[in-house]
């Protein structure tokens, strides 16, 4: 069977989730590989969520929020951007390829853009193959 990437999408309520909804109501055809989790703000995304998703079997994680300057809570997405910059460095050291974890700004009117982001990410993760997590319980002498 061919590999279908499983991608966890964590989307802010105000822009990106609405944008993804628009992609649906506009009947845009795009890759079905993202499982969407709605949060009130991309600033809510604790880096532990990303690590947990990868540990639990996700092949990629897509965080999406409002464009800079558009945050419903003024500054939430700026906080996301700062955390993401540092998280990228930590993930690289942990051996997670850069294309597996992505931050995108998608507004409520950008259904087309949402579909394009998902298609692009799905293909990049497909090229990387499945993510294998060291769960700390591997055979000792394997």
């Amino acid at each position: 069977m061919s590999f279908e990437p499983k991608i966890v999408g964590i989307l802010c309520n105000w822009c990106s989730y609405t944008g993804a909804d628009l992609a649906g109501t506009a009947r845009i055809q795009y890759a079905p590989n993202v499982r969407v989790v709605r949060v009130m703000c991309s600033g809510r995304v604790d880096p532990s969520f990303v690590l947990k998703a990868l540990q639990c079997g996700a092949d990629g994680v897509l965080i999406a929020g409002c464009h800079l300057g558009d945050c419903h809570y003024q500054s939430g997405n700026y906080k996301t951007m700062r955390r993401f910059a540092l998280m990228k460095r930590v993930l690289a050291q942990l051996g997670v390829e850069p294309d597996r974890v992505r931050l995108e700004w998608v507004s409520a009117s950008e259904g087309e853009r949402w579909a394009a982001v998902v298609n692009d990410m799905t293909e990049k993760v497909r090229a990387l193959g499945p993510f294998t997590s060291g769960d700390g319980n591997n055979a000792l002498g394997a």
């Binding site: 604790d46 880096p47 532990s48 990303v50 690590l51 947990k52 990868l54 540990q55 800079l68 700026y78 906080k79 951007m81 700062r82 955390r83 910059a85 540092l86 998280m87 460095r89 930590v90 050291q93 942990l94 051996g95 997670v96 294998t132 997590s133 060291g134 769960d135 700390g136 319980n137 591997n138 000792l140 002498g141 394997a142």
Partner: protein, 322 residues
């Protein structure tokens, strides 16, 4: 209850945990009064076969320090678990994997190659490497197998209590030993000898709004002894670290290194720390943010300094091809 039967063991660790028991100073005599020692390799001459000969659950409490690095550590962890009623992961290495756990950033092959071939101080023209078995006329000589990954104690055997610290603070060791001797232990699975809050909650430094344009290494500056380290741009692990150590590093004007492990309800110490540290960056400009985060040297090693093997991703993604 008769005299407490106690075993102490040193697995993949530096030996500081054993010293922390000795650091109870004259109270060590009280320990000898309260307990019969059945195993303590650093201080007394016992052999492993003495332990093997004991009935199961004969030892009341085993204080096990050190990570599981090789097959000898693993064997003793399983043996002592079988022979002990209560298993205590003593110190950061047994608790979380500790400093030896940072080896999980590298593969076994790279570690052995570096140590025996490559390092600046290595002189090994014959390319001699340790073997698990060497045949000699007098018989086979055996060395423990070096595992592919470092594990914390509870990844190998069930653990009843965790006594954190690198090493555990002496007063906390004493309190835990007294609690054990008087049978006043909390629910199994608890962290003992530590607090239920993060170190920042207990820190007495002056704290105000944190806005950082530049991160500095502790080696580059003499920090102000009164003000929060993070406000001075120095990475401090206090926000995600469990309190209970008595803050000896902070009091010595050094930032927290995180040895007491994650604060309660923190599933992944590195994730939480990176979240806290990134939140103090004072910039809205992506290029400037990248420049500022680049000033933190070895972020994963810093945020997972003591907890890599027990972290969500275990730091073992760079797997050695089988």
């Amino acid at each position: 209850m008769g005299k407490l039967k106690l075993a102490l063991y040193w697995a993949g660790a530096c030996g500081g945990c054993d010293v922390s028991v000795l650091d109870t100073n004259e109270r060590i005599l009280k320990i000898a009064e309260l307990a019969d020692l059945l195993l303590w390799p650093i201080a007394l001459d016992f052999k492993y076969h003495h332990i093997e000969a004991l009935p199961d659950e004969h030892i009341d409490v085993c204080l096990f320090n050190g990570a599981i690095r090789n097959s000898e550590n693993e064997h003793l962890a399983k043996l002592l678990r079988q022979k002990s009623k209560v298993m205590v992961a003593y110190g950061s290495c047994a608790h979380l994997g500790g400093i030896p756990g940072l080896a999980n950033f590298s593969t076994r092959r790279d570690i052995l190659h570096h140590v025996y071939m490559d390092s600046a101080s290595t002189v090994n023209p014959g390319g001699t490497v340790p073997l698990e078995k060497t045949a000699l006329p007098i018989g086979d000589l055996e060395l423990p197998k070096f595992h592919y990954e470092v594990h914390s104690l509870d990844q190998v055997v069930p653990v009843d209590y965790y006594l954190p610290g690198c090493p555990p603070a002496v007063d906390q060791v004493w309190a835990a030993i007294e609690a054990i001797a008087t049978d006043k232990l909390p629910a199994a699975g608890s962290v003992v000898g530590a607090d239920q809050v993060a170190l920042c909650d207990k820190c007495t430094r002056k704290k105000s709004e944190k806005r950082i344009k530049e991160f500095k290494s502790i080696a580059q500056v003499i920090p102000d002894p009164e003000i929060c380290f993070l406000e001075q741009g120095i990475v401090c692990c206090g926000p995600a670290t469990r309190a209970g150590c008595g803050a000896p590093c902070i009091n010595a004007n050094m930032p927290c290194r995180g040895c007491y492990g994650p604060a309660p309800d923190v599933p992944d110490m590195g994730g939480k720390l990176l979240s806290a540290i990134a939140s103090v960056i004072d910039s809205d400009d992506p290029a400037e943010i990248d420049r500022i985060v680049a000033q933190i040297e070895d972020p994963a090693g810093t945020f997972y300094r003591f907890s890599l093997p027990s972290s969500l991703l275990s730091g073992t993604q760079q797997k050695e091809a089988a």
